[in-house]
Amino acid sequence: MSNLSDFISSFEENYGKLVESVEIFEETRASIIAKRGSYIEIAEILRDEYGFVIPIAGGAIDYPEENRMEMNYYLDSPDSDFIVIYRVHLARDDLVLPTMTTVWEAMSFHERETKEMFGIDFEGHENMVALLLPPDWKGGYPLRKDFKGEGVE
Amino acid sequence: MSWIIKLLKPIAIVAPYVLRNSQTVAYPTERLIFKDRYRGRHQFFFERCINCSICARVCHSKTITMVEVEGKEKTFPQIDYNTCSFCGYCVEFCPKQALEFTDVIEMAVSDRSELVYSPEQLSIVPKIKDLVPRMKRRVESYLTDKEMKYRKVKDV
């Protein structure tokens, strides 16, 4: 599916209902906001049907005043000239997500880093160990907006 | 036979390297001449400064602070070389070019507090000769067909 517009149109009418919104963002990126329920199935559809097999990265962003967090995965496919940003919104109090390593294996590093930086824990991740921070890090989650440097004596 | 040639070819290539002279600069006796855009230690000009403190605001690691100077009522920039990253923003965005780069890099000190240069200290740039007493000549590099050599530019 090398062309962006017909990817959007075909994805829209096939799985438009299962997904909160699909739009073109910055004329060469497709931004898909998924629902918590059908989160993994849509990922598998993206990978098998539309050929997005290259996992670029995964990261989160924190909106404290709207009391929500957003986890997005960046996906690419060898024969398309656009990338897909697969997002999901999380309420700030229950930060639980099914792990994406079953779909894209290489996301395990990025999920470990998001866990220690934002506090989103991914069930089903096989070795959820701190990636960048020291294992005995007692402080809060550094990349959150309300992180004031606790845990650093 | 071909693999014997393959074995001998690297030897034939590396052997002449031994005859070349070394491409190193013997630092205390020879010192490189840096290019004129080189970002070494700052030089500050009192008369050009209009105390607008743009340099203090544009500095990304907040190493420039405006300090009082006795004898003058305005405040002038003081640079703390512990955290300066020589990025050149202060020099670039200063409207009156009051701060400029020199090619002095011999700034080793025995105490951190000495690295905080007051405006007067910034305006006086010591000569390279008395910073590097054992220096005999200044050299610069040039390319020949096979190697990079260093030639003497001037005696000091």
């Binding site: 962003i61 997005n72 960046y74 294996e105 290489a106 921070l133 | 290539i13 855009r37 050149g88």
Partner: protein, 371 residues
């Protein structure tokens, strides 16, 4: 008669940060003396929290910390961040500035690949002759950088809207002279190192990464192109002046260490051709669009994807109207290659003595992956 199961007790060797050939990271190897069964990469020793640092700096001030993420190849990171700033501010970069940006990126790429060669030679215990050759050849490029930008490695010559300064006069002649010199030097590298039978013995079909595995594990850069997949961000999403320069993506399909080394080698050739084109056909014009360092960044969200010497580096920048970015998500290439290195033990036969060569063929930059 069932094949006798060799009871080999596995011991875990820690290839620590203090090991002579390990770099700033720790690798745990499950091995029975010779064969490596499992690799666990324990990275994070040089984590400086650059994403947090960027949040309390102005957009323009963020260029300096982000260029220190990978000192050898700092220009190819700075270009990503600066392009993101251009999109945020909506600045129109003049044509000449784009060409100067491409020149600095390509010189940074040669610089970084040369450094990778040196480490590769030292990993096969080539008695670091080639490492010092590359150091001295990089001297030629560092002199060019010093003349153009004023600094030898962290140049931060880029500004949102263009570059700091134009070429000093007579700079094009110096570029051409350096390009001729480096081309002559690379004949020596090809004959003394890549055609070296002992080097081939150490590198041929070792640590093979199949194309489909490379894609599945998210390999990028010379590691991906060494397995025959022509993905290069300069072609996928042309930035700076890459669509007006003619060059082609290099791929090798031998999928082993020698292929990755050859990809880096031919990429240097391509970069030298680009440098030559830039020196000859750079258009005239001023080099900086009107921009004040204290202007507020308009609200927005932009992604830029840039080809670092080690792979695809993407930056996702959210801005919320203040002078500082709201959040900058950096996707370094070395993190993706480190995961490939972790899975390599299961994909192909690796011996303990091969670990330094394999690590250097993947050439991760640990400061890059730790951010």
């Amino acid at each position: 008669m069932p094949e006798p199961k060799i009871e080999s007790e596995i011991m875990r060797i820690s290839w620590g940060p203090q090991h002579p050939m390990s770099g700033q990271t720790r690798i745990l190897l499950d091995t029975d003396g010779e064969k490596v069964h499992k690799i666990i990469a324990d990275i994070g020793y040089t984590h400086r929290g650059i994403e947090k640092v960027l949040e309390n700096r102005t957009l323009i001030g963020g260029i300096i910390p982000i260029e220190r993420m990978n000192m050898v190849d700092s220009s190819n990171i700075g270009i990503g961040y600066v392009t993101a700033c251009d999109k945020t501010y909506g600045l129109e970069v003049p044509e000449r500035a784009q060409w100067i940006r491409s020149l600095i990126c390509e010189m940074g790429r040669i610089n970084s690949h040369l450094y990778a060669f040196g480490l590769q030679a030292e990993a096969t215990a080539y008695f670091p002759a080639v490492f010092l050759w590359t150091t001295i050849d990089r001297e030629v490029l560092l002199d060019l950088f010093e003349e153009l930008t004023g600094a030898r490695w962290s140049y931060n010559h880029f500004l949102p809207g263009g570059v700091f300064k134009d070429f000093p006069e007579g700079f094009e002649a110096k570029i051409l002279e350096a390009v001729q010199y480096l081309r002559r030097r690379f004949k020596d590298y090809w004959n003394a190192m890549i055609e070296n039978p002992m080097f081939e013995m150490r590198c041929d079909n070792v640590a093979i990464l199949e194309p489909k595995d490379a894609i599945r594990l998210g390999a990028t850069g010379p590691v991906l192109r060494g397995s025959g997949i022509p993905i290069d961000m300069r072609k996928e999403e042309p930035y700076a002046a890459y669509n007006s320069l003619d060059w082609e993506v290099i791929t090798e399909d031998a999928c082993d260490i020698m292929a990755r080394t050859k990809v880096r080698f031919h990429e240097i050739g391509q970069s030298l051709n680009m440098m030559e084109q830039i020196a000859k056909e750079i258009p005239e014009g001023e080099t900086r669009a009107r921009f004040s360092p204290f202007s507020r960044a308009p609200e927005g969200e932009h992604i830029t994807r840039v080809e670092n010497s080690r792979g695809e580096m993407s930056i996702h920048m959210w801005t919320d109207g203040t002078t500082n970015p709201y959040r900058v998500k950096i996707m370094p290439p070395s993190l993706r290659n480190m995961y490939v290195f972790e899975r390599l033990a299961e994909l192909s036969e690796i011996v303990v003595a091969d670990i330094p060569v394999v690590v250097n063929s993947i050439d991760p930059w640990y400061l890059d992956s730790d951010r």
